[in-house]
Symmetry: C2
Subunit: 81 residues, 2 copies
């Protein structure tokens, strides 16, 4: 069994209202040193697969089809072990 960590982020240039709201809230709360904030998602996925290459290919498919919207998001397979 392998456990994968997949990170989904908005592409550069895509507006991130959640990130802007968090940045403004943090500045208002007394953290003027906060600059840009970008928000994203992370999924930890257990796979009943032992082969790393096979797992990576399944993850690529799953990210493209369901987890990320390739028009505005990118995905990164961060860990696989």
């Amino acid at each position: 069994m392998l456990r994968a960590t997949v990170r989904i982020e908005l592409k550069k240039g895509v507006l991130d209202p959640q990130g802007v709201t968090i940045k403004n809230s943090l500045v208002d709360m007394g953290y003027p040193e906060v600059g840009n904030v970008r928000s994203g998602k992370v999924f930890v996925i257990d796979l009943d697969v032992d082969d790393h290459d096979k797992a990576r290919s399944i993850l690529d498919e799953m990210c493209t089809k369901l987890l990320a919207n390739p028009v505005v998001e990118t995905y990164t397979i961060e860990e696989l072990q």
Copy 2:
């Protein structure tokens, strides 16, 4: 300036309906090898601070006060550079 990556995850034992839905969808889509799925959030935060220790202490405060709900979530400062 430092850029931090902060990951927010549900504590073990806390129900994760989004993760369950994604797991079920992936199995239905033809990926029976998918086991447990846990969902979380990730924030990339730019800080106008040069000292790593100061940045870490600010991030700890921000996570406890705004970014994570310490009752059901844990946070990890993944990268700071």
